[in-house]
Symmetry: C2
Subunit: 309 residues, 2 copies
């Protein structure tokens, strides 16, 4: 067990900028990460909203290396390292740990459906045993609507018992508060840090003793989300939560990843921020206009967004 | 367009043998592939039943290389090359095409769910345009219960129109005869070869003008399946189909991949054939006994299985 501080607060699954022909735009990626750190947001690079599944292992290794070379703080990074094939999960996890990353966010292997708890236990156990590094802190990634492979409470209990140091917490992207609440009640007291999967549940998660949130809209609306995390005991906390919900609600009317990229393109003045990789599709011009109008109505701002250009 | 003969007949998604610590057992893999070719079965290596999703890109490249070095016929190979990340799909596809493989079996990117037809079209189009080799023949892999990302008729029509040479056919693992039948009626006359996703639909597929089947149980019951393909116009075809169904029915009572490996372990006398990679789990001793008894009841044989040891 390491003595380093545990991760908490607000993290963003950092959107990955591409060149027009779909190669990752490493420079803009570093700029965006630096801007997020400046806003108080941790770097959950290679998450679902990062189009991480659409990046090769080699591309992810190169992007992580670029962040480290740029001097961004590894202890504020929680890269997504869970892939379908254990050797690849192990390789990226090992790189993250050796680079000093504060944690890793780990999907279960997600191709095979209906797999047993025993099989998923073995998958995570194999990673812990093979990486074999006491600095390893895994945040289990529960996003059943996308992965279709849930992280059940039975699985968490078993992993936590076997690996109390390495199994550090979870991101609950089920969108089901009852599930988050049950995870908080059962596991948070054991030092298993529960992060809400979006800021919609941030206040409730903090009131329930949780660690924070890992949220897509952390990419575009970081300041107000971080402010709620810092002031969640203040009298205006519910009003802050309501304002966050209004902004998030706008993004949720559109395909989320494309919409966030369109917002960054708008605020930074760089159109190539709109590029997504297949199988995703960028917003149409009409959708971009509608997004912009709706965001203006909720008073959306991205301070210092020129730095993202 | 190339003049080489189009793929047809019976293919198996070749099960991947592992060493006890889960490294791929390349020697046994080559032996199994050689045995399959001897039985008249083509090599759809790296399919769902190959645990391909659990193999790293590097492992797949090494296994393909081992087959080629062993002198197995590339023109009878249809490796699965579809992964979530296009750069990886492109790399493995390019290797397969340059090695002379008869075709490639391609999953759509399968992490993101509910993606648009436009997005999937762009994914496949990007592969064709980037590989840019007239020898490329893609068999679209429709396995919605596992991938959760279907290959719709609208998508096939659009791809076939844009790339009539490269879009060569499909494997329909929907388990829905109505879908296979519709694909046969609409696209087979255009030279788009429809393979049934299991031998359960082999006779119906051949009667509907289809090309054959790509079936898990081709790994363990190749002779009788190939015999039906060769004799599908014979008077006893329906009886042959019924016998195939009975054997398949036994395997389907168990987790399929683990059961096939257990059958090979039994018939070859090599227990390490049972090993699967997490998140899959091997059969219990009780399940192995039950499988064996049930297979004996249907007269199951694996001729020359000693070659698999």
């Amino acid at each position: 067990m390491t003595a380093a501080p545990r991760l908490q607060g607000v993290f963003a699954p950092v959107v990955t900028p591409f060149h027009p022909e779909h190669a990752p735009a490493s420079g803009r990626f570093v700029s965006h990460c630096r801007w997020l750190i400046g806003q108080g947001v941790g770097l959950a690079v290679f998450g679902t909203n990062s189009e991480a599944a659409s990046l090769s292992l080699a591309e992810k290794c190169a992007l992580l290396e670029a962040l480290l070379e740029a001097g961004l703080p590894a202890e504020r990074m929680m890269p997504g390292t869970g892939m379908c094939a254990l050797p690849e999960t192990i390789e990226l996890t090992r790189r993250a740990v050796r680079s000093g990353c504060g944690g890793v966010l780990m999907l279960p292997p997600f191709y095979y459906k209906g797999v047993s708890e025993e099989g998923l236990y073995r998958a995570f156990a194999t990673v812990v045993d093979t990486v074999a590094d006491e600095r390893l802190r895994i945040y289990l990634y529960h996003i059943p609507l996308v992965s279709q492979v849930p992280i059940t409470r039975g699985l968490v209990a078993r992993l936590l018992k076997a690996y109390p140091g390495a199994i550090a917490g979870m991101k609950d992207s089920s969108g089901d508060w009852d599930n988050t609440s049950a995870m908080l009640a059962e596991f948070q007291p054991q030092g298993f840090d529960v992060f809400a999967g979006s800021e919609s549940f941030l206040l409730r998660t903090l009131r329930g003793g949780g660690a924070g949130c890992i949220t897509a809209t952390g990419n575009v609306n970081p300041g107000p989300i971080v402010a709620l995390h810092r002031n969640w005991r203040a009298q205006d906390a519910d009003a802050r939560q309501a304002a966050l919900d209004a902004t998030r609600g706008v993004f949720q009317r559109f395909p989320m990843i494309a919409a966030m990229k369109a917002a960054i393109a708008w605020k930074s003045g760089r159109d190539d921020w709109c590029t997504v990789r297949p199988p995703l599709v960028e917003l149409s011009d009409e959708e971009r206009d509608a997004l912009r109008r709706a965001l203006e109505q909720v008073g959306f701002e991205m301070p210092e967004a020129a730095a993202l250009a």
